[in-house]
Amino acid sequence: MLFHTWDFAIFFAITYVVYLFLRPTRYWVHWFFLTSYFFYGWWNKWYLLLLFGTSAIDYLMVIFMERSRTQRRRLLWLIVSLVSNFGFLGYFKYSGFITQQLNALLSWVGVAMQLPDPIAYPNALLGALGVPAAHQFAAVILPIGISFHTFQSMSYTIDAYYRRIPIERSFVRFLAFVSFFPQLVAGPIERSGNLLPQLTNKPPLRGRDISDGMSLFLVGLFKKVALADYFAQYVEKVYAAPDMYSSGALVLATVAFGWQIYFDFSGYTDMGRGVAKMMGFDLMLNFNNPYLADSLGDFWNRWHISLSTWFKDYVYFPLGGNRGGKLFTYRNMVLTMLISGIWHGAAWGFVIWGAMHALGRALTRELEGTAFYRDRVPRIAKQVAVFAFVTFCWIFFRAQSTHDAFLIVKRIFSTGWGDPRFPIAMLVMILGVWTYQFSFESRLRPVLELGIVRVAMAAGMIIYLAMFTGGSSSAFIYFQF
């Protein structure tokens, strides 16, 4: 169920009315659990088994941790939790890719043996239990948003292990925390320290929450339907056959993709946060005008903030952070970025994308610390440089294969500009949004915050959506992660 569909509108209307009705009782958390499972099961009811299974294991492991008398025993339960989470994630998300690579390696070294498709393992078990082949699984299907809810659940066990958070006693509340539908499938990846207390102490619901939530939802809807889906049309056309296009189209499609993925993902987050806000819940900010960043470090403080901070807290710091000298700091930084790249998907393109960011971050960190860069280089030049680098990296993220990605890079530098047939309207929209964001971080901000300007902008968005975007319902890019 996508936020920008009528299915969701009906679902939310019912959910909301019943939620308001149940707020005075103690059953409102149960309602969240039920509606969240319904929301997730809408895609595929079998996904629910996985969601419930990982949540139940994590809940139990934390209870076992609490009852453990020794630190060693606590660690054991943490390891069980991590192994189960990474096990599920690894099987569903990476097993196909790993099998493919290993088989290629085996062929390369001349070994005749090939590993079977990963679906063969559960099917062998089913076969042993007497399930006929017709009723066995056909392929490994990646459950939507598995990386998000697994990470959210895992953060709970890790925090509980380090005694950073109180232990959640209610199983239903814990299930509602992991499956909280406004952020279940594409984040923000909420920490238990933020969301569980809100699910414990019913958050107040004021008129301001409702109006704020509606505002966030409108902006998110506009970003997704009017901008991201529109830019996607040009990007898909060019990236589907990069050998047919020359430099101009490839450059502009890559720039358009940079904005598409930002509007797509931040639009989803805005809608999710808006939905949560309308019910009184505060979810963390996930994007903060990332294309205005003036350094790569700044970019990662503004882009997918909930994931960046997750990796910082659960990977970078445990690796030692910046405590072991420069060399260790860079090692930790590179490792964190590489893992972040792999988190996004099982493909070499994501690995290269993560490696490029790791390398870029490592190379520019020293430069950013110099007085010359800090004081003498104009901010706009830094912003343009960061945007150019980030956009260049997107090629490896978006291309259908690494072969395509390198072909695009090659053609960008080896062919003429050509006639890109890039729509003027799209260009105007990109420049308009950029100008808006620049203005928002400038002295013009008070003008943008005038009531009349806000109402005029909201009216413009609604009129545009009503007139020009009927019936769009394409999926969000980040669902695949």
Partner: protein
């Protein structure tokens, strides 16, 4: 960790701002279609018929209906037979009716739409036919829409048909029509909020019947603002299809699987349309579209005639005047039901001689 809700954009509206926005939008939704209607030059000259390429522009159709109802005492409503698929705009039934009247103020307006089957026609009259209220409406009954279970919307096998945006979307929806919720909601919005049908009209008339985004990709260097100033397509002067008779098309030996009226969805929709028109105070005259007897097998023709007999009996029971335009010569048919120009002239002449028709006109 940033926790501020709104640090990435400024569009934060208070409840009061939302209320102001609702009023502003309400005003825009109300005023915009009227303003657009005035700003857009719509010229309907003699023998105007609704352009074929904009057949699904129901907002524009409503404008034409309003105009026709103001300027013509008689409205001819129907499918491509009335519209004139194989005829120029000066060879249609309404043209010949007007030409043969010889008197001022006895003229007919052609308010037919290509491909409008009875189920869609019911939707057209219900949602876009307000100006038919109190008018004299000649309506065509084309039994060919009941000549196969599929044409009659029987069964649950999905198929492509004309004017899906006019058929029932929620209550009374047919099993063979499976729109998604977004389609249902957008159709309902178009029917009940004029702004949306006007927006659809803009897409059709200014952006070549494409979504705006598709249009910009097709015309990357054209300004959408310029496109908004595109003038409306004029009426179709020439025939839409080549005007040759059915034999030259290689047709013949047709054996139609006629659906009995008692089971027919199209027939039920047609009777509901008649009720609807009468509820609106319209005076209705039913014209049986000629079904080409020469291209059917004997058995098919016999079953078709039996069906027509049942339909006449029903109309008589409902005290509705009608005329059955059969008996044309073979060469006057372009296909199973469309007459060629000669056929239209012949039907017009016979209608003028029909006492029921004269009585209806003079009533």
């Amino acid at each position: 960790m940033p926790s501020s809700t709104f640090s990435s954009n400024a569009l934060r509206l208070s409840l009061r701002s939302w209320a102001v926005l609702a009023v502003v939008l309400g005003a825009i939704f109300l005023v915009f279609p009227r303003a657009w209607s005035r700003a857009q030059r719509f010229e309907a000259g003699t023998d105007y018929r609704f352009p074929y390429e904009t057949s699904n522009d129901y907002w524009m159709y409503r404008q034409w209906c309003d105009r026709a109802a103001q300027q013509h005492p008689y409205l001819a409503l129907g499918d491509s037979v009335i519209w004139g698929q194989y005829a120029g705009n000066n060879q249609t039934l309404t043209h010949y009716l007007n030409a043969s009247s010889g008197r001022e103020g006895e003229d007919f307006a052609n308010i037919a739409i290509d491909g409008i089957h009875p189920i869609a026609m019911e939707g057209l009259v219900r949602y876009y036919g307000a100006s038919m209220e109190g008018r004299k409406v000649l309506i065509n009954l084309n039994l060919l829409w009941m000549s196969s279970p599929m044409q009659d919307f029987q069964g649950d096998q999905e198929f492509r048909f004309n004017h899906p945006r006019l058929v029932p979307q929620v209550v009374g929806r047919f099993a063979c029509y499976k729109p998604n919720l977004a389609e249902v909601m957008s159709v309902e919005a178009e029917r009940h909020i004029e702004f949306f049908s006007c927006a659809k009209h803009i897409n059709i008339s200014c952006f070549a019947n494409m979504p705006f985004s598709d249009w910009t990709l097709e015309h990357p260097y054209e300004s959408p603002l310029t496109a908004l100033g595109t003038s409306l397509p004029g009426t179709d002067v020439g025939p839409q299809s080549k005007p040759v008779d059915w034999k030259k098309r290689g047709m013949g030996g047709q054996d139609f699987a006629w659906v009995p009226l008692s089971e027919s969805n199209q027939w039920r929709a047609f009777t509901r349309t008649l009720d609807l028109l009468r509820e609106k105070g319209a005076s209705v005259f039913v014209l049986f579209v000629p079904i080409n007897p020469y291209l059917q097998t004997d058995d098919s023709r016999a079953r078709g005639e039996a069906q027509a007999k049942d339909a006449k009996a029903w109309l008589e029971g409902a005290r509705l005047p009608y005329y059955c335009a059969d008996g044309l010569q073979s060469v006057q048919y372009a296909d199973a039901s469309h007459p060629l120009a000669d056929g239209y002239a012949e039907i017009a002449r016979r209608l003028r001689e029909c006492s029921a028709f004269k009585e209806w006109m003079n009533k």
